[in-house]
């Protein structure tokens, strides 16, 4: 040959790295986002099998444990020399002689060991089978462990928060999934075909985006009969949340489609004889899937917050369904949180989940386009 432009090919990692590898490398540099990724994964594992991570049956009431305060787990035992272990001390109730206020103190004489992978109450794993093995289980059923304390009916707040993760975290995913379907279809059509259709769609998207979401959700949620079964309620709430959520995603999809439509490599593909379907799926979709994933990740926390707010106001999910929003209704009363501030724990869970997802989405968005620096 007359001239060889590349004389020798050095094995260069970046040269043969696919889009996803480049994104991953860029993402890894974002330390907060990496931490958030691990937190998010951990939370969704918990949400998948909450029963395994729970200690007490989240629905079980205990009249003697009303507003029982949080207990700690101990690892080092110094009462009798020094030994390692996994145990806790039950609390002893005394009353202040003057005010008669309840005072709980750790009773260090009664050490209750905890069993890893021990047996506890029976729970169902995704409705497929049942199990009674828990990550940690108390060995003395008469002295239950309340990691985050108990509520006014003596139910274990920790186990309820763990159980609530299932509904609260999945409602975000399902809601975003429905929004995404709507957003991709409507935004995609709008961006791909353009013209009058796009104009109308744009007005609709602008309109939906300018609506204040919560009053509308309230009105929609108020229309739900309170006596519906929990699964139906759940589905309806996700649909209600998607009712306004799709517009944001549709706008992102449309914008990407419009900018990609004018990209030269798309014109080049068309000239190569590539079919419209293959242009969309082989050329356009890979180019914006990373952006979509980032947008979706940022939309999930908004959905979680929305569900929490709705349920908190009593218009979302209804007890006995356990979600973080439903749990926070217990904290509605200023007097109950004054006596039992641990009722805020579901709120802490919400904040951690939402923050992790937000940081994760932010990191993904920064890494989403490895070719435009």
């Amino acid at each position: 040959m007359a001239d060889i432009a590349i004389t020798s090919v050095q094995p260069d990692r970046a040269a043969i790295a696919s889009q996803w590898q480049l994104i991953w490398w860029a993402f890894k540099r974002h330390r907060l986002a990496m931490i958030s990724l691990f937190v998010t994964i951990a939370m969704y594992i918990v949400a998948l099998v909450p029963g395994f991570f729970a200690i007490n049956d989240p629905t079980a009431q205990n009249a003697r444990a009303t507003f029982y305060p949080p207990q700690g787990i101990h690892f080092i035992d110094t009462t009798n020399g020094f030994s390692l272990g996994l145990f806790y001390y039950p609390l002893k109730l005394t009353r202040d002689p003057q005010t008669l206020a309840a005072i709980y103190k750790e009773d260090t004489t009664k050490k209750v060991p905890l069993a890893l992978f021990g047996r506890g109450y029976e729970y169902s794993v995704l409705g497929l089978f049942t199990s009674d093995i828990h990550l940690i289980a108390t060995t003395d059923k008469t002295k239950p462990l309340f990691l985050f304390g108990a509520d006014r009916l003596g139910r274990d707040v920790y186990s309820r928060v763990v159980q609530g993760a299932q509904i609260s975290l999945s409602i975000g995913l399902v809601g975003v999934f429905i929004s995404l379907l709507l957003g991709i279809v409507l935004g995609g059509i709008s961006g791909y075909y353009g013209g009058k259709l796009d104009f109308v769609m744009q007005r609709v998207i602008d309109f939906v985006l300018s609506l204040p979401t919560i009053p509308i959700w309230l009105a929609l949620a108020a229309a739900l009969p309170q006596n519906w079964p929990a699964t139906l309620q759940y589905m309806m709430i996700t649909i209600i949340l998607s009712f306004t959520g799709w517009a944001q995603l549709a706008r992102v999809v449309r914008g990407r489609f419009l900018s990609l439509r004018t990209e030269e490599f798309v014109s080049a593909a068309r000239l190569d004889g590539v079919s419209e379907g293959r242009i969309i799926f082989r050329h356009m979709l890979p180019s914006f899937s990373s952006h979509i994933i980032a947008s979706v990740t940022l939309a999930v926390p908004a959905m979680i917050l929305a569900e929490t707010s709705l349920s908190f106001l009593g218009l979302g999910l209804q007890p006995p369904t356990i979600s973080w929003g439903v749990l926070l209704r217990e904290a509605q009363n200023i007097r109950s949180i004054a006596t039992a501030p641990w009722l805020f724990m579901p709120g802490v869970a919400v904040v951690i989940a939402v923050m992790a997802l937000n940081l994760l989405g932010d990191g993904l968005r920064d890494a989403a386009d490895p070719y435009n620096k």
Binding site: D206, F207, L211, A222, A223, L313, F344, M355
Partner: protein, 328 residues
């Protein structure tokens, strides 16, 4: 410019109609109607109403007509007489119930908007100019935290802190003695004393997102060639920053009113319910629960209309400050 505003106003009309229709459909959605709820309430106190009385009640409220007729009647009343219909539950015209509450809702939203801007703008600019500095990281953490705390939770926590630490009750917008009092300067001052808490609560989450927006805008503008041009002219860093990139980054910032206002109003609904503020939200919730349709409908309609007007204002402001929009 006038043509632009006229065009924009023209576009408002179909949106307003869409909003009114949406509001009406929304409040019609629940199965049954006010009479059903009314009967249920009476049944709870062992009173029984026969079919005839129910039908009479329906006829009196106009509930026996098809939905579209009810809608047209309702709209006609609003357009011609400013009449939003009767509240079944309160047995008085809706318009008598809503205006003061809507005005307070608006006041709260605008106060929060101003607070949000006043905080987010300088912090956003600072974060961008001192990118990756300790201050930037601190504000970033703050903004993510702010984004992640549901506003009602923040309201609860602040109420808890006020109650437990300071022994104060911080709910409401007025002290007891002013609640029913007519408007006066003293009442205004009292309002100012109470409004800061909901404003802070509302401003936290919107400030958080706005800091991110402003920071991103500034980071887009800072490497632009016109900044180098200004630097090559001999301008001091501060002057050129304020005059060029900040000025230009302000344009997309202004367009955020369009979504900030709906967000603030949305947020204020939940916060108002938690803090028991005399704004539209608690009454809206109550009317939704009781299927008091014209009252609920009026609130939904007015709240939505408010956000539409907000986006109109943001578009007009944007055209005013950006010659590229104004002159093209």
């Amino acid at each position: 410019m006038l043509r632009f505003i006229a065009k924009r106003l023209f576009w408002m009309i179909p949106s307003l109609f869409a909003v009114s229709f949406l509001a009406f459909v929304l409040i019609q959605l629940p199965p049954g109607d006010y009479v059903t709820t009314y009967i249920a309430t009476l049944a709870a106190s062992n009173e029984v109403i026969d079919q005839n009385t129910a039908a009479q009640l329906r006829e009196r409220f106009g509930l026996d007509q098809p939905m579209i007729i009810q809608y047209i009647k309702w709209m006609w009343g609003i357009i011609t007489r400013g009449d939003f219909g009767m509240s079944f539950e309160w047995q008085q015209p809706v318009s008598g119930l809503i205006w003061e509450r809507m005005a307070l809702t608006l006041a709260l939203a605008i106060a929060s908007l101003i607070a949000t801007w006043a905080i987010a703008l300088p912090i956003g600019v600072f974060s961008a100019v001192r990118k990756y500095s300790i201050g930037d990281y601190a504000f970033t953490v703050f903004s993510f935290l702010g984004l992640s705390i549901p506003s009602f939770l923040l309201a609860l926590v602040l109420m808890y802190v006020a109650a437990v630490e300071f022994g104060q009750d911080v709910g409401g917008l007025f002290s007891h003695e002013y609640e029913a009092a007519p408007w006066s300067i003293a009442k205004m001052i009292d309002l100012m004393k109470h409004i800061w808490l909901p404003v802070i609560i509302l401003a936290v989450s919107s400030t958080a997102s706005l800091i991110r927006v402003m920071r991103a805008n500034m980071l887009d503008e800072l490497p632009k060639p016109y900044v180098t041009t200004a630097r090559a002219k001999g301008l001091s860093e501060f002057r050129l920053l304020v005059k060029y990139p900040m000025r230009i980054a302000l344009n997309p910032f202004i367009s955020t009113i369009a979504w900030l206002l709906p967000n603030l109003i949305s947020g204020s609904v939940v916060v108002a319910i938690v803090l028991n503020l005399p704004t539209a939200a608690p009454l809206l919730l109550q009317s939704l629960m009781a299927q008091d349709m014209y009252l609920a409908g009026a609130f939904v309609l007015l709240i939505c209309a408010l956000t539409l007007i907000g986006s109109l204002i943001s578009d007009v402001l944007l055209a005013l400050v950006d010659p590229r929009i104004r002159l093209e």
